[in-house]
Subunit: 500 residues, 4 copies
Amino acid sequence: MMDKPYDYCGIFGIYDHTDAALLTYYGLHALQHRGQESAGIVSTYYDEKKGRYVMPMHKDFGLVLSVFDDAKIFKKELKGRSAIGHNRYSTSGSSRNPANIQPFRVHYRNGNLAIGHNGNLSNARTLRERFRHEGVLFQSTSDTELILHLISHSRKETQMEQIMDALQQIEGAYCLVILTDTKLIAVRDPNGFRPLALGMIDGSYTVASETCAFDIIGADYIRDVEPGEVIVIDREANARKEPKSYYLEPQKGTSSSQCIFEYVYFSRPDSKIFGEMVDKIRRNLGKQLAKEHPIDKILNHPDPDKKPIVISVPDSSNTAALGYAHENQKAGNDCKYDIGLIRNHYVGRTFISPGQKSREQKVRTKFNTVKGVIEGRSVIIVDDSIVRGTTSRYLVDMIREANPLEIHFLVSSPPITHPCFYGMDFPSPDELIANRFNRDVHAIAEEIGVDSLRYLSAEGLVTAVREANPSRHGYCTACFTGNYPVPVDFGVQKEENEIV
Amino acid sequence: MMDKPYDYCGIFGIYDHTDAALLTYYGLHALQHRGQESAGIVSTYYDEKKGRYVMPMHKDFGLVLSVFDDAKIFKKELKGRSAIGHNRYSTSGSSRNPANIQPFRVHYRNGNLAIGHNGNLSNARTLRERFRHEGVLFQSTSDTELILHLISHSRKETQMEQIMDALQQIEGAYCLVILTDTKLIAVRDPNGFRPLALGMIDGSYTVASETCAFDIIGADYIRDVEPGEVIVIDREANARKEPKSYYLEPQKGTSSSQCIFEYVYFSRPDSKIFGEMVDKIRRNLGKQLAKEHPIDKILNHPDPDKKPIVISVPDSSNTAALGYAHENQKAGNDCKYDIGLIRNHYVGRTFISPGQKSREQKVRTKFNTVKGVIEGRSVIIVDDSIVRGTTSRYLVDMIREANPLEIHFLVSSPPITHPCFYGMDFPSPDELIANRFNRDVHAIAEEIGVDSLRYLSAEGLVTAVREANPSRHGYCTACFTGNYPVPVDFGVQKEENEIV
Amino acid sequence: MMDKPYDYCGIFGIYDHTDAALLTYYGLHALQHRGQESAGIVSTYYDEKKGRYVMPMHKDFGLVLSVFDDAKIFKKELKGRSAIGHNRYSTSGSSRNPANIQPFRVHYRNGNLAIGHNGNLSNARTLRERFRHEGVLFQSTSDTELILHLISHSRKETQMEQIMDALQQIEGAYCLVILTDTKLIAVRDPNGFRPLALGMIDGSYTVASETCAFDIIGADYIRDVEPGEVIVIDREANARKEPKSYYLEPQKGTSSSQCIFEYVYFSRPDSKIFGEMVDKIRRNLGKQLAKEHPIDKILNHPDPDKKPIVISVPDSSNTAALGYAHENQKAGNDCKYDIGLIRNHYVGRTFISPGQKSREQKVRTKFNTVKGVIEGRSVIIVDDSIVRGTTSRYLVDMIREANPLEIHFLVSSPPITHPCFYGMDFPSPDELIANRFNRDVHAIAEEIGVDSLRYLSAEGLVTAVREANPSRHGYCTACFTGNYPVPVDFGVQKEENEIV
Amino acid sequence: MMDKPYDYCGIFGIYDHTDAALLTYYGLHALQHRGQESAGIVSTYYDEKKGRYVMPMHKDFGLVLSVFDDAKIFKKELKGRSAIGHNRYSTSGSSRNPANIQPFRVHYRNGNLAIGHNGNLSNARTLRERFRHEGVLFQSTSDTELILHLISHSRKETQMEQIMDALQQIEGAYCLVILTDTKLIAVRDPNGFRPLALGMIDGSYTVASETCAFDIIGADYIRDVEPGEVIVIDREANARKEPKSYYLEPQKGTSSSQCIFEYVYFSRPDSKIFGEMVDKIRRNLGKQLAKEHPIDKILNHPDPDKKPIVISVPDSSNTAALGYAHENQKAGNDCKYDIGLIRNHYVGRTFISPGQKSREQKVRTKFNTVKGVIEGRSVIIVDDSIVRGTTSRYLVDMIREANPLEIHFLVSSPPITHPCFYGMDFPSPDELIANRFNRDVHAIAEEIGVDSLRYLSAEGLVTAVREANPSRHGYCTACFTGNYPVPVDFGVQKEENEIV
């Protein structure tokens, strides 16, 4: 996939470490691909002067490196030995509302509490209506605020009971990191839609959406937070190296359904999620693609003198393309993995491009072809997915200008046909190219201007993932199949900000 | 008074005018002296596209002219025919919290609602505790948010009933402008602590803290909002020119108690408040001062050849000084009103002045003497009030350098000895110079370095005010006398921001 | 005058003081009225590390308090015991060019040199053409840069000779402060158009455009820099308390011609310029006005029961109005000085006021009337000058709304009819109200809507000034009379910025 | 090379195109890798109102997309049909001086002139001294300003003669784009150190440092600007499609000497420079590396079951690694090209990393390993060059943590041992790792922690380049060999800014 029309969030937490906030900063930077709109960190410490715990917070719009561009933030503000952090990309609503930047922090009758949330609640509307009717005022349009009101309004006595009370009322896709005055709590929804891993550094626990956040700080991966698991790290748990676990019941009739699209495109290749390295899975998707669509069945005009070349759309489909090429080579189908597209990584918030050519110019701004590689060759482009298809079309136009013999487009996932209600921000269904052309692959191929287009089958996708990761957990493939594991309150629509 | 160590807020509202937001902007500018920390405007209109009312808002830290420095704000954002606005100077708490900038706007089950508030609730702590216990989360430390929660949590059916329900639960000093989708509501607390006036422009109603806001837009003053009155302007009321009025009961045993310090120092001299021009009252305070302390009783070394001069501390005591001089002249006590101090009006947020001389340098930065006027003369300085006294001392030092014959300091109000719980941000009681020297006028005179110091008596103050404004309403003189008209929850203390 | 359509610059310098830059900051703040567009300070010290003198500089657009809003600027940047500073208001050209902000600082073959300049060179065009022809590139449109090129291109050997060489080539109105590695130099042009004073603080010399800058830092006024004098302060001069003086020859046929408009309007009343207090001069202008136009000759409908009132347009005409009132009283013409106009001192760079009513709204934003003072009275407004007249008209409209008996307008200077080529930024001659109505006072009175209008005579102006300040120096009255003391290169027009 | 410790500049120009400034913006974005510190564009048009040509300019610190983040800049400011642009990375001096941001624009007696410059003048010091002695003042520390003074001080009559006069006096490495009121001029120094290409779009000429700037706008590459060529595009030349060419004489005894490091690392792989695609050259460097160091001669512990893997340091050594792998495979040396390192492309100006671990953390922030790829394998890292070596060391540490069998480090260029005086900003010679260890390859290998380290030979480098690009022009290899083609004024040292 060339662009990122969808994105979720990245979360990170660490308990009792001397550099808590700084390590959170590095962790968030490693998770930057999960959300580029805003970033924030909350830490906690006991303020001797005030005689109570305080939770300093720093958050703003922008990339992690730009929100935290001053070392003073760590030295003077974000003091304390425990911290949580959040990268956000809005999945709906007026995303530029500063009140929606996470983590959220409150002070209520049982102390301080901060929360970072990755996902969407599927019963958000119902909960919000209930609160509205009671007269509760909201300050954000974020589902996360609902969780805070649930905790604060809970009639249970202890904070931990209040949190469990709240968690039992929410449904949907969510991973949470919660920081209290003395605890770090990590929660993964009962279906396990989004990844969340537990790690350890210098004898202290840490949690992160993806393990690449552990690598950047030199932490060790221990295990995944299990679907439905609520892990509580407090002083005792940290000392004994035995985190306390509680479990949430899955919704009736559902079981684990991890988001397969995390493997296809979203997570970083160097992360281990759902128990396996993403890179390995993607390689296997490429191999499966080679099995379903071996190169010798694809080419229309094979040139006996020049090997066909397999190229990726950098960087997201690099390993799938490599897997595809290697598998073909192994099967005796001669081909060469090569670099046919160069990506310009200098990116800004704004790109000025007036008029009709806007999208085309944007593609040219991000990519260029390596003419010597493409010219006169049969070119197989391997991409991870196609969403709207416009970017693909302009990219193919560019490749065509470099005079290849022929262009075949392979996609290491099936056609995207259904919206995601669990956190992915796909465009509306009628903007998806697979729907626009009624899943007529020939028509889509014509639209994007290639000699042929081939998708990985839905079965092939699951097979390849299971082959590489024989976990006992299931996957959600709703965006490809329409099989939604959890019923959704389809009327979900966000209200305006309520107190500003 | 040379400085403004205390300040409240200014509020403004207008109903059904084609330039609603722009007139609010001018009105707020005229009320700038009531609050220099932040400014905000909310307007309302029916959005045909959305099929419902919307309430655009623009607010930020800074002076009115700087917060609204772009004409686009009015053309593109603050559309609609009704608007309210607010200037704020924090009376307590971490004033730089952006969440505290007013007006506040919410969307709740009965529609949009915005509120601008001038004053302090005396039962804020009790209300806040009650809400906290129920699990309500706060986003600001402002008392104003409590009013919103009271309205939103009210079990009454109509919005107007909910608002009345809320108003009946709050106590203290407050003036409110409330904007709903279709109404403008103006409220003055039953004691009438702060001023609020009703005006008319181009056939539409407008309300403002002081009438100087009417003058700037060319509106006519109609009458004051009465203590305890809730004025509702809706389409019908505006058409018939008959605003609807509801009344709040005063707290047991209390009656109207308008803040006399508004007359002494705070309001603009060109405003009519509590039914009379401030300028006229101040002039009378000067005259009363002349009656209590005629110039011939003051001078130690009258020079038969040179008239003593009466000077003000510009601009706040100009009219009191003029009144003092004229009354003396009328009584045959020869003297001359002159300009002996020049004020530099260029002011910024920051003034760099390291070390001990800081406050002295600040005074020198703001004032300079006119040596030719002062030299060799008996000088009578008339000031409106003395708070800490430090500024007075440095000012007197400066005047002394210009070689006057003698310096006498007259204050057109009594010694300030008590804190204000109704909105004034005085320093702590032990910082008040009158308390520091146990109200020993001689000791205070010595401290500030004058040959003599004389205050207006508390009786004289009330007499002079009543003489110039024989209104049926009473006055609050608590800061001078300690007689608090409304009991106060002395434990008032603000919590940290609750959701951020 | 109600507005400031014209303005020059303020300069300040100090030699060998431990707080050199900080005192310059205070001095510039006191001179803020002379230029509000930009501010800058340069200091000098010997950098042990670098083994040479360095000249740190800090300058930007904005008021002094905002340009220098960080104490670090003084602690870490502007180190050293000597400094100069400059406030600027552009007198022509694209004023918002940052390259035009003063002081200018260069490093050339003879060391560092910084310069601050107040005025206009009348032979700038000729000099610029000469340099352009030689191929010299300019980085600013400022006349000041010419002086730097003259110094740098001089073939003389020592820096002091180069500076004298340069000064002998420039003509026009200028005051300069020059800072070299080891000297502070103050220059006043041979005609002495602009004021420049020499002072002393803690045994060190200081110079400033006006003495109010000495008062703010507690320095003593010693004497004026004489017309044509070049005062050099170096280590020796400072130690002996004997500044070295050099003299520039006046242009043929000319003698001293100090700007009389400085007395009329521009300088601060608490400053001593051209050897006398401005306040005293202005008072005398008011008295002279009373002699030429006594109040009993002015009134059309004197009310025997109510004294006529004399009001000023605050703050600029306060003392002239007071002088007028006192002189009338002395002459037995009964009248009362009062405050009939209130000025709102909150000002910003932007004021939003769309459409036709713009100027009127601007006046209403700045001023308000005190109705109780004006109503039913004969009102005499004393203003210092009238430029375009539009502001006067709207002000009179406002006063009229307060229902006076009659309004008479007195101006404590003659009609402005000619442009200033020596630094004042008057509008073009055809925009001056006196020219628009061919100096027909009745027509002007009608235009601004008063019952009568009276100016001080040109003779009266000079007489009153000379009476209060019997100095041997002459005055420039060109803006009132067209008598230009120094011939001007009328083609003066600024080029665009040359290197940017 | 993992980092960019050195960088030059990118320049772009276009003549007579309706979107001149906008195309320049895209072109500069494509050249962003050549300079990330600042960006600027100047255009030219005839202003009917002013009756003369004007040259609007927009420039600032920051990346192209951020400096030009407002479409208004193009619509309202940078009007006209011709434009030039510049990206800058300072090669010396106080780089953060805004006066050094290019292009530079002047207005002198022969009209407007703007210039963008890529490179360093080797006789800058001499020229600067000459001008200083004459009294010329400088406003920047940039060599480019010298060219402007040379043109402006030239005694030649026409602008074109003045420009040629100036060019004949400068020495060193430079490419220039010059914009006059009616001409676009492109200059490449006689040695041709830096690349500069001529292209055409929509019938109009364009020039750019690299052809990737043509691809982004859809322009066609025509030919390189030749070493020593001065190409002039005016109305006639553009109409006839015949640019006028003038030639500069090379310095005595020198001939063309194109910077070979542009091929090794600096230019983009998708650009054609010096007449050939960079990608093709780099691939050939990889192949040559395979010839000099075939994989079977490298491995210490070849595992018969697992192929050794060849990995790059993304993205700069991707093609060299691919060339190395392919050549080995062709030669029957079994190996696999794989992706073992992932690069995080989110970058900011600031990266907070206190204390000793700073550089290590920076490497971890930018790279991560793909453990599944590396574990248990023989790993060959191919990098393009090693400068300081610190980054390499930390990168190797990271790879080591993924448990490879062995790590061998191959560099597709020789050891860097000498400073560059023609524009590259290498660290001081004693910081270069090759010098620190006296070119002892074993010692360097030990320092960076690899099992073996191998460089491409200097002969191999030139051979491989010549093989892929049999051009008649020579190359500069001074940084590898110390053979400087042009004598350098070694005392080069920049003065402080001269007028600010």
